[in-house]
Symmetry: C2
Subunit: 188 residues, 2 copies
Amino acid sequence: MSVNAREAILAEAKCAAQKHGYNGINFRNIAAEIGIKNASIYYHFASKASLGAAVANRYWQDTVQYLETIRSTSADAAEALTRYPTIFRKSLEDDNRLCLSSFMAAEYEDLPLEVKVEIQAFVDANVAWLSHVLSEKGTGSSEDYKKQALAIYTAVAGAQLVARTRQNTEIFDELIATYQQTGLIPIS
Amino acid sequence: MSVNAREAILAEAKCAAQKHGYNGINFRNIAAEIGIKNASIYYHFASKASLGAAVANRYWQDTVQYLETIRSTSADAAEALTRYPTIFRKSLEDDNRLCLSSFMAAEYEDLPLEVKVEIQAFVDANVAWLSHVLSEKGTGSSEDYKKQALAIYTAVAGAQLVARTRQNTEIFDELIATYQQTGLIPIS
DNA sequence: ACCTGAACACCGTTCAAGT
DNA sequence: ACCTGAACACCGTTCAAGT
């Protein structure tokens, strides 16, 4: 708690956002959880918007790092592509949480600008990574890779949403398998 | 307004839900919009949960009807499949609104049970319709149709979410085109 | 049958005040 | 440097009271 209140607030806020969305970030809950008063949060963050932006920023930066790990530990592009959905699967497994971005995409219109910017950065990072991996294994144009990358990201994020609704991780796996069988996600 | 307050409340609530989600349904706003006081809404609906469920119920029933229209006015299954995404496209065009279900999928964990039930009914109706259309044109097993139907629904709903984030209907069209090119959505 | 005013607890936010 | 109590406007909800 008191080692670093700022980090504790961030961690609680991230967890709340993955479970209930931006709207579910509750200052009084967070404060109670880490043993301070809700007014104290304002010493560390200027506003809920600012806290939300910090959470989203940390989130996509962590994701970029994880994506890099997948690439560097995969034998080839095909393996990296196959492992990509695990990012989304992990949050589902872990307490049925949602990718921050999927959540906030729904809430998007009502989000403060500074949060929108970070959410957009997350999507961009995913598409950039996927485009690069696709280009390593394919022969299409750069435009095609971008389109396919966005399509894969979209479908996988959608799968997380639907699977969460059913509270069933198997549905996520089946959806990914169907994407692979139909050819949306290349497998070899 | 006073011709039928109940219907006026439903209409306002639906619009709010498509723009801001269940959480964005605001009794004081709705009341002001139709010229009554927020306490009056409780005469027509027992709670916000009840109003939300009524909105979602009306929504999926309208969708079922629209899907039937697509089928009965399509020359064949392939045409019906091609026209399927228009349902999601229309709400985007119309003021950048979101399919109720995509919204509430994000909010799902926090939704009252009676609302969850209606959201699930919407997804089921879509999957049933898609399965049927797929079976009319294909030769796979019934299990395969269901899986592919859910995959198509998931990917199209995801496309709506992503396109909304970019406030750009073209992105929706490009995503659908990519789904068709890769084979997720059969085209002939 | 339909609507209202007043009150409740809850939440983001502010601010003057404490150590 | 970090935290707090008290107050504000906002929201879902209740309820006794109005026509």
